[in-house]
């Protein structure tokens, strides 16, 4: 090839770039330069250029064409014709016109040949696919493509990124593209030191683990870059540590809300009434099994609403558990008022009976309670991943507690309950029917336990032993918070949840739990009446 030829080629390239730019900024007039034309050429480098141009053109047929090319399903005339005809062979054996997608009735079989690709073209196809994603009208696809470019951090993709950056209008995707550009520049030999340091800053701005990995790999870079990268890694580590703390707090709150749900009913029966109900955990279990039954009934009768069966199980569990509580109060606990230790033994016996009953009805194995679709998935918030079911349970706990407090402070029943708690005889003298209030209070506490069962069925195994695993924790929450004090239970549950989660990574799950128990035992020695004791003048409350 002569000098002149080469110069002509370069000029041609410039022209092509010009066309490309033209196509990018004004994509509408496809006729101005046919981006498909080069594909019909027998010259690999022209095919390659055509693929790049096609990808950048934004033509709606581009994806189909490039896919066909990659799969060797793109055909052209065996001998060049001026119309540069292109055909795609469909999987069913028929042919369509590549430019329009129209079906061709009579296949021009003997006079066409497949467009052949070599490695250079293949890599152009790969890049073009990335480009197509980058130019896709769907925001999520563009974001994903930019993210993939960042992770690849390939200097070869710089050109692609420039093209995409020029078109991109969405600020989020733009930022991702800039980060991808910076990552690619860091790996490119052609970038100046100043540019690289700027790139380090951009990458460091992400502050996540992939960015940290990329920066940490720059140890062998020129020293100012390496220094900047090391500083950035340090900074990222600190940010990540902060996110970690937030994540631990979130998990702690999540665990705390579960504890609180399990303990809220106990705070009523034990805290307000002074009844030690060792069968509390089993009432929670009954609530969980009610959820199961409601789900199966709904699935059998109204399959269309099976996603909403959980909402129906909340009142159902409240009613079942509450009624069960009233029955227990009337037949058992009523006779044991003023004898807390005997109550403890009798209700423990009751818990054994309930466990065995559920076991003989539903079997000893774990039951499958499915989560509705709107409860699965996760939300990303900065460096946090919040699973939806946990979020729902936190919200549910807050709602339940708010409702409970409203009942206690704004209803007739709540007023009577508080009156009976403060001074039973005086309340009776004022005309409050104390036995009725006792029964309803116990029913309310058990109903709340039933609701807790609905929530626990979403995160724990529903088995006859469900209650046993929560009873000790629930009692500890109430005792730690201070008996007779709902807010105390809230604070105690949150503290226990967070401390548990802080200790878990340090000491392991089991040791962390043991440490929490030991800390609690020691705490009770210091403050035998809990965090927020109800003050009184009696020597022995």
């Amino acid at each position: 090839m002569t000098e002149g030829n080469r110069g002509k080629g370069r000029r041609l390239g410039r022209l092509l770039l010009l066309c490309l730019g033209f196509a990018l900024f004004r994509p509408a007039p496809a006729a101005a330069a046919d981006p498909f034309a080069g594909l019909a050429s027998p010259d690999f480098s022209r095919i390659e250029q055509a693929v790049e141009a096609l990808a950048a053109s934004g033509n709606p047929r581009a994806a189909a064409l490039i896919d066909a090319l990659a799969a060797n399903r793109l055909y052209t005339w065996r001998w060049p014709r001026p119309d540069n005809g292109l055909f795609i062979k469909e999987p069913d054996g028929g042919f369509v016109a590549a430019r329009t997608g129209e079906k061709i009735a009579t296949p021009p079989f003997p006079v066409i040949r497949p467009v052949i690709v070599n490695d250079m073209v293949r890599s152009a196809i790969e890049a073009a696919r990335g480009m197509l994603d980058l130019l896709s009208p769907a925001l999520a696809v563009r974001g994903k493509a930019a993210e993939a470019l960042f992770e690849a951090a390939d200097p070869a993709s710089l050109k692609l990124i420039d093209v995409a950056l020029a078109r991109e209008r969405n600020p989020g995707v733009r930022r991702l593209l800039l980060e991808a550009q910076a990552a690619a520049r860091l790996n490119s030999a052609a970038t100046s030191i100043a540019e690289r340091i700027a790139a380090v800053k951009v990458v460091a701005g992400r502050g996540d683990l992939p960015a940290r990995a990329l920066l940490a790999s720059l140890g062998s870079a020129p020293s100012p870059v390496a220094r900047a990268a090391a500083a950035a890694v340090h900074q990222i580590d600190r940010t990540l540590a902060l996110w970690n703390v937030l994540e631990t707090v979130y998990y702690g709150i999540s665990l705390g809300s579960v504890l609180l749900l399990a303990a809220a009913g106990l705070a009523i029966t034990f805290g307000v009434m002074g009844v030690i109900n060792m069968a509390h955990g089993e009432i929670v279990m009954v609530g969980a099994y009610t959820t199961l039954v409601v789900q199966q009934v709904v699935a059998a009768t109204f399959p269309a609403f099976s996603n909403e069966s959980l909402i129906l199980s909340i009142p159902a569990a409240f009613l079942v558990a509450g009624l069960l509580g009233i029955v227990i109060e009337q037949t058992l606990i009523r006779f044991l008022y003023g004898r807390p230790l005997e109550t403890l033994l009798a209700t423990w016996g009751l818990s054994l009976v309930l466990i065995q009953t559920v076991r003989s009805i539903f079997g000893p194995t774990n039951q499958d309670v499915s989560s509705p679709a709107w409860m699965s998935g996760a939300v990303h918030l900065g460096g946090l991943t919040l699973t939806l079911n946990r979020l729902w349970i936190i919200a549910f706990t807050i709602a339940t507690l708010a409702l409970l407090m409203a009942v206690l402070s704004h209803t007739r029943l709540g007023l009577s309950m508080r009156a009976v708690t403060q001074n039973r005889r005086m309340a009776a003298a004022m005309g409050i029917r104390t036995p009725l209030v006792d029964a309803l209070t116990f029913g309310l506490g058990c109903g709340i336990a039933g609701i807790a069962g609905v929530a626990l069925s979403q995160i724990d195994n529903v088995s006859p032993n469900l209650g046993q695993s929560y009873i000790i924790d629930s009692f500890l929450v109430v005792v730690f918070g201070g008996v007779g004090n709902l807010w105390g239970a809230v604070v105690a549950a949150l503290i226990l949840g967070i401390v548990n989660m802080v200790l878990e990574p340090i000491a392991g799950a089991v040791l962390g739990k043991i440490a929490v128990l030991v800390l609690l035992i020691l705490f009770i020695q210091r403050r035998p009446r809990g965090l927020f004791p109800v003050r009184g003048r009696a020597v022995e409350a």
């Binding site: 009976v353 000790i472 040791l511």
Partner: protein, 382 residues
Amino acid sequence: MQRDAHSALTVGLILGGALLMAVLDLGTAATSALHVPDFVVSLVGKYLCYAMLALAVDLVWGFAGILTLGHAAFFALGGYAMGMYLMREIGARGVYANPHLPDFMVFIGWKELPWYWFGSNHFWFAMILVVLVPGLLAFVFGFLAFRSRVTGVYLSIMTQALTYALMLAFFRNDMGFGGNNGMTDFKDILGFPVSARTTEVGLMLLSAAILAAQFLLARWLVRSRFGQVLVAVRDAESRTRFLGYRPESYKLFVFVLSAVMAGIGGALYVPQVGIINPSEFAPGNSIEAVIWVALGGRGTLSGAILGAVLVNFAKSWSTTAFPGLWLYALGGLFIAVTLFLPRGIVGSLAAGLSRLSQPSAAPLAVGARPEPACHAAPEPAP
């Protein structure tokens, strides 16, 4: 000690029954109608160990008003101390034939014994551990709890948390006590093969003798001046304090003593049952021990023994005869005893007898009147 028909009867029944068992097992032909099979002997030995636990619970609950829901922890700790000795006795006869390490340590890749296994190859040292470990734990726990006047339900929940924490701890392999599987496959004790008939009978007789001794000690203690103060603490702790006594010291002493008694029970239990594992710490076990006492009669000592034997006999029998019904029966027992038999069997019998003979005698057993005010009563003092 004065003449005491109650004690004589109890000790006579324990020792006489055990001897009769021994004779009927060893002294009769296997085909004889009077023959007692070997497995019954080890079952009886097991019941006797449970009776020691019940006696220990009755001592603190019946006489000091401390409702402990974690006494099985002391029982299990005594058992583990004995288990360590028995593991070391296996020596090179284990599956891995390691002369120095128990099998489970070889299995998790340990190269040498941890420090706390030091001396466990000596029987006398193991016996010291049996007494010391439960005693020390009870001392520390009781010292802290009684000094800060943690009483009633709060104390119950704390003891339950204690045994729960211990259960979780012993489930860990890294504790060096066999983790989930605990210790088993024992070969011999002091040179006698543990599964031999004569060893089983001997252990059963030894359990009976120690139970009788423990009963006499407890009986002597509660009838002494010390015991009178203890009952005063149970019924009116503040009043006793205002009279110049230190209730916490009395409670601490009896709590530690009771823990040691339970630990000895556990130590005798392990060679007869042949296994010790963390499920012995389960909170349910401790609560079950309380119901033995409640059934037999709280504050009667002999009732605790009777309750332990009766309930465990019923358990052994019904879990083979009606496997699904045992939990109903046990749960129903809890409810029925608290509702209809608050004094328990022995307490009710004693009350009936004393009403027949001398109507004015005040029974020692509780339950004749409502629970003292030291527990969280629903009605605050005016």
